[in-house]
Amino acid sequence: MMGLLDYFKQKKPSSSASLARERLQILVAHDRVGRDAPSYLPQLQRDILKVLRKYVRVDAGAINVNVEHDDDREILELNIVLPESRSNPG
């Protein structure tokens, strides 16, 4: 009877492997970006944060600086997430 149960269980695999795969895909992509990035990137990120904080209250995670390589060019991508404004309802 155990064998029969096992048979039905196999139809729905407990997919910790697929979780591992997803986590790794994200992680490795992220690691590679960091690896290929120019060395000034972290400092650039801190400087931009400093300037931004003169005007808006943001935390360190709000800024994301990336360099992407294309065939014939490099693209510097800057993402800033602004906090939701409380003084401006609606």
Partner: protein, 269 residues
Amino acid sequence: MARIIVVTSGKGGVGKTTTAAALAMGLAERGLRSVVIDFDVGLRNLDLIMGCERRVVYDFVNVIQGEAKLNQALIKDKRNDNLFILPASQTRDKEALSKAGVGAVLDALSEEFEYIVCDSPAGIEVGATMAMYYADDAFVVTNPEVSSVRDSDRMIGILSSKSRRAEQGLEPIREFLLLTRYAPERVKRGEMLSVEDVQDILSLDLIGVIPESQAVLNASNSGIPVIMDTRSSAGQAYSDVVARYLGEPIPHRFLDVHKKGLFGRLFGG
């Protein structure tokens, strides 16, 4: 001119030394003059896996520092005339490996041998970077497990940026994925990353899959490279790896669970 192979992984305990020993023995068994070098200075273990631990007199560091001649430090394998072992120092620290010193020893070995297998220590410190610096080919040993895969990816990055070939703008190191401790039944149950998963993530050429096997522990217990255990799945898988490395088109084995009949599936066993 010898071909220099590094066996690397980043993470410890994934089977680098087992692989280096199997690879060197496999090449020697095919009549190719081979030497395997332990780069794990301070924690030597290759001598144990090769079963020559009681014959170590001088080591790699002694040779680099001019305290012994290369011929005095090389240990000839008792089972195969084509195979030699260069053990690591057990007492020195890894800083004793200099780029120039390692290069000089590899140059000297190149004159006598066809293949030089460098067994890298875990981690990304001097021993590991020296083991890969002069490599022509790299075996990236990986377990189907998240931390091992991540570390392998890190090593691939280092291979492509910090090796002699990268620095001198030469043809890049040929990198091969060797998946070890593979358990097809766990893959089937969705508990373990599959060969395809790991290949997708690392984008490397697959040179072989070594199944999880008790033969590996038995081999290390007795100081016999597992490739010599021709009855074991791991030994056979390593033989296939050597053949593939030498250009023979051998299909991959041990990737699937042995199929059970309907009766077996219904009633277990």
